[in-house]
């Protein structure tokens, strides 16, 4: 926690004599900044980041009430403690001061001992709040690193084996979030791709996200058909779900040799199919039901035949439901049009380009939801035949082995318990 002697107090009074008294009384206890009018006070507050402001009310130009209101409006100074020191002693003046955002109000003439006691009290409260905030922030930073580590960023090993290129971006609205995606090499002829969005934001969503992504990875390797993967995942996340969390989830299985891409949708926004030639369109018709509401659901599947140059874009509703400052929604029509304009770019460039289009649209409006985009572009067929012994496929196989160890371990851990791996 910050020491009280390191805390900076900004003293604001148009009468230099008053400032002298305060400086004399406080200079040995704290760092001080001085301002002789409202304008100077606002400037100083921005540049010196005080831990407390002692503010006179009656001043030429901006009065103390107005300075207080403006400090509260600026994000940098919105939470700094403010104490009025004023000769106005009517209860209406005090009430007005608190309404303007003050934390305390002391009338002149004052006793220096009381000023010092109140200053210490306000600074202690501020230091405590700051320490708690910093601890939460640092824990969230670590949580974010852990969460980001669960998402694949480098697809090079996969791309050497499968004739596809990937692009991915993920931006939580807060430090951690509920969006997730994954790509699993489930076999030489089976690549599983998934993307999901957990209800809500921040910590609760991120905890559920970890549960979903871990299960999804295991089930992707165990089950061949995406509709079945969804059904099993749904059964697992529906059990022991007292807070009613749910996840919208999209899962596809790609067979490179035939170009067949089988998709199943659990309530997620429809992915975009960007053909090598032709207009962009929705890759599936139906939304289906989200996972986590009810066990025993079945999921429809959609089959697509992909050929070289075709791209699939999976995204979360942080994209389609981004808002601009006029509170207009980015919307699915804009998404289709913008996707079309990026059709001839690479998979990573399409993901990054789409994110940029959404950002340009949103402008200065704050990001309200987590954003994830995963793109998959089909390369030249037969790229999978260029495999070499001891080459990249071994690398992928090694990762599979590692995951299978996890699977075995999980099987043992959950033997007879909730999680059953078939």
């Amino acid at each position: 926690m910050k020491k009280l002697s390191d805390c900076r107090v900004l003293l604001v009074d148009d009468a230099k004599a008053n400032l002298d008294i305060l400086v004399e009384g406080l200079k040995s206890d704290h760092k001080l900044s001085l301002a002789l009018n409202g304008e100077m006070a606002l400037q100083s507050a921005i540049h010196t980041s005080p831990d407390l402001v002692l503010l006179d009310i009656v001043m030429p130009g901006l009065d103390g009430y107005e300075v207080c209101r403006r400090l509260r409006q600026r994000p940098e100074t919105a939470e700094v403690p403010i104490m009025f020191l004023s000769s106005l002693e009517e209860v209406q003046n005090k009430t007005r001061g608190f309404e303007a955002g003050a934390n305390d109000y002391l009338t002149k003439p004052f006793d220096m001992l009381e000023v010092k006691a109140r200053v210490r009290s306000l600074l202690k409260a501020k230091a405590y709040t700051d320490a708690v905030k910093e601890q939460i922030a640092s824990e969230l930073r670590v949580a974010r690193e852990i969460q980001m580590g669960m998402l694949p960023h480098d697809f090079a090993a996969l791309e050497r084996v499968y004739p596809v290129r990937f692009g991915a971006v993920l931006e939580p609205a807060r430090e951690v979030g509920g969006d997730l995606y994954g790509v699993c090499a489930a076999g030489p002829e089976r690549l599983v791709v998934f993307l999901g969005d957990v209800s809500g934001k921040s910590l609760p969503a991120s905890l559920f996200m970890v549960r979903v992504i871990s299960l999804a990875r295991l089930l992707s390797r165990e089950i061949a058909e995406p509709g079945r993967i969804l059904a099993r995942l749904n059964d697992e996340v529906t059990s022991d779900n007292p807070s009613g969390m749910f996840v919208t989830f999209l899962c596809g299985v790609f067979v490179p040799s035939s170009g067949r891409f089988t998709l199943a949708n659990g309530g997620h926004c429809r992915p975009v199919l960007l053909p090598a030639s032709g207009a962009p369109r929705w890759a599936v018709k139906k939304l289906g039901t989200a996972l986590g509401f009810e066990p025993g659901l079945e999921f429809e599947r959609t089959e697509l035949m992909l050929s070289e140059g075709d791209t699939l874009i999976f995204y979360t509703d942080g994209v389609s439901e981004a808002f601009n400052p006029q509170e207009e929604c980015y919307g699915s029509q804009r998404l289709l049009a913008d996707a079309g304009s990026l059709a001839h770019q690479s998979a990573p460039a399409i993901a990054a380009g789409l994110l940029q289009k959404v950002r340009d649209f949103a402008g200065v409006a704050p990001q309200s939801d987590d954003i994830a985009i995963l793109t998959l572009k089909v390369g030249r067929n037969g790229a999978s035949s260029s495999r070499q012994e001891g080459g990249p496929m071994d690398e992928v196989r090694y990762r599979r082995d590692a995951d299978e160890n996890v699977l075995q371990l999980t099987k043992r851990l959950f033997q007879g318990g909730q999680l059953t791996i078939t």
Partner: protein
């Protein structure tokens, strides 16, 4: 945007025992706890039919949908049902991801809902 929650206990001859919950405003991460708080006594009681009137609900996020999901689950556990009426188009779009869930019913109008509730209650009181 804030959320206003109005809980009405219908005492008319047709819907006796039905509780109507009117939502006005925006149901999102910030306002969902308020709805949870107001629903708690309703769900802790004996009510089996809870109707959510969403005519004046302007926005719903997934955090809001979660509250409906919990209500549906609790009501379904005791043979009850959550019904929803007057969904605005943007709300309907979000509801689509709860498509075809057992224990959830969506109606265009109060007349359609009344007809359904009356039929359901006849089933309960009259085995035929």
């Amino acid at each position: 945007m804030q959320l206003e929650v109005i809980v009405l206990r219908d005492v008319g001859p047709r819907n006796s025992g039905t509780i109507t919950v009117k939502l006005i405003g925006s149901l999102n991460t910030a306002t969902a706890p308020e709805l949870e708080r107001q629903l708690a006594p309703v769900l802790a009681g004996e009510a089996t039919e809870v109707v959510f009137d969403l005519a004046h609900l302007k926005f719903i996020s997934s955090a809001g949908l979660r509250v409906f999901s919990i209500a549906r689950k609790q009501l379904k556990a005791r043979g009850g049902q959550a019904s929803f009426v007057h969904l605005q188009p943007q709300i309907q779009e979000v509801f689509d991801i709860m498509e075809a869930l057992p224990g959830i019913a969506i109606f265009k109008s109060v007349a359609e809902l009344d007809q359904y509730l009356a039929a359901r209650q006849r089933c309960h009181t009259d085995p035929e």
